[in-house]
Amino acid sequence: MRIFILLLLGSFFSFSCNQKKEKNNNSKSIVVNGDTILKIKPEKTINTYEPVDVSPMDMSYFPADYPKLKMDQPTMNPPIARVVYSRPHLQGRKIFHDVLKYGEPWRLGANESTELDFYRDVTIQNKKIKAGRYILYAIPEQDKWTIVLNSNIDSWGLHPDPSKDIARFIVSPTKISSSIEYFTMIFQQTTTGADLLIVWDNIEVKLPIVF
């Protein structure tokens, strides 16, 4: 029993140490531990040129952090993929059904349509997808999400036009134990390519991309 308690304590210590490390890594940013509400000071006067968006835009590459990697290795191969999306936040709401409704198309972001660039041909669920630029939207349901690749680029996220769909993919959502405040998309390496990870609140969805 004593050993048990010791090991238990050990686990706790190793956990808290790691937590500290993570916090230190993030110390440059206001956001601690990845996902508390950002404290951008509201502008005192209205920005007459371009007000700052409530849902800020962001960009993720595969390989992850490609632009930073390229700084150190200017000759490295081009990236594989990039997603440009805006990040709505929960602000006390639940993803289902305060923000999204089952069966209704969702822009997978906010503001401008979410844009997915492939720098080379890829395969998703056995469908060949040509290199180029697409927009993404989703139709979330309780036990499956339809992820749609559409050609209506440079458009606003509302009212996607299904006549311009390129391909539709069915994926399974998983429940995660924590709640993620800001809508998040990243690429994660797999043995056959990368998953596009789509996370918000307690839902995680993976779109597997093969290349």
Binding site: L7, L8, S11, S14, F15, E50, D58, K70, D154, S155
Partner: protein
């Protein structure tokens, strides 16, 4: 004892899972934004209100003044400034354009500025998908053009970029702190 060891293993696995969960990216302090020419093109597109074809777009991050002196302070005179924050600012044209009498081919480029008190040299570079201007390489410049600085009475807190219509094409307006610059593109 066996039970205890199993419990410990489960416990440690649980913590390992917590740690192994890849950290999701936090929200950037300088949020990214996007401006099109024609202005608000994506909104016009879904409203069927497009009156002229898509010409250009800029994707940039928006640092805040946060009480600092920006030009001549945070951004040193005579140095190449990243023209934003985080990922290098990307300017894309959907057709060939001219800037300062020089031709710029359609496609994606990065954009930087060599900032002085009364003028900025706008630099268009071909190294895309990179970060900031830390490894800026003038050998990869596509073109440079110099534009005058306009001083404003008001303060713009967050760096702002927007395209406006001109008689010969469009101007890219850049405003931050009490400084405004207009870069003319013709097409």
């Amino acid at each position: 004892m066996k039970k205890a060891i199993t419990l410990i293993t489960v416990f440690q696995l649980f913590f390992f899972c917590l740690l192994a969960q890849s950290p999701l990216p936090s929200v950037d302090k300088s949020p990214m934004d996007m401006s099109y020419y024609p202005d608000k093109y994506p909104v016009l597109k879904i409203q069927n209100k497009i009156t002229e074809p898509l010409a250009g777009r800029i994707v940039y991050s928006r640092p805040q003044k946060a009480g600092r002196v920006i030009f001549g302070g945070l951004v040193k005179y005579g140095e190449v400034w990243r023209f934003g924050a985080n990922e290098a600012t990307e300017i894309e044209f959907y057709k060939n354009v001219h800037i300062g009498g020089k031709k710029l081919n359609k496609g994606r480029h990065t954009i930087y500025a060599l900032v002085n008190e009364n003028s900025w040299t706008i630099i268009i570079n071909k190294e895309t998908d990179t970060w900031g201007s830390f490894k800026y390489d003038s050998k990869k410049d596509v073109l440079r053009t110099t534009v005058p600085v306009q001083k404003m009475d008001t303060i713009v807190e967050s760096l702002a970029m927007v395209f406006e219509k001109s008689t010969t094409g469009c101007n890219l307006i850049i405003a931050w702190d009490n400084v405004k610059v207009s870069v003319p593109f013709t097409f």
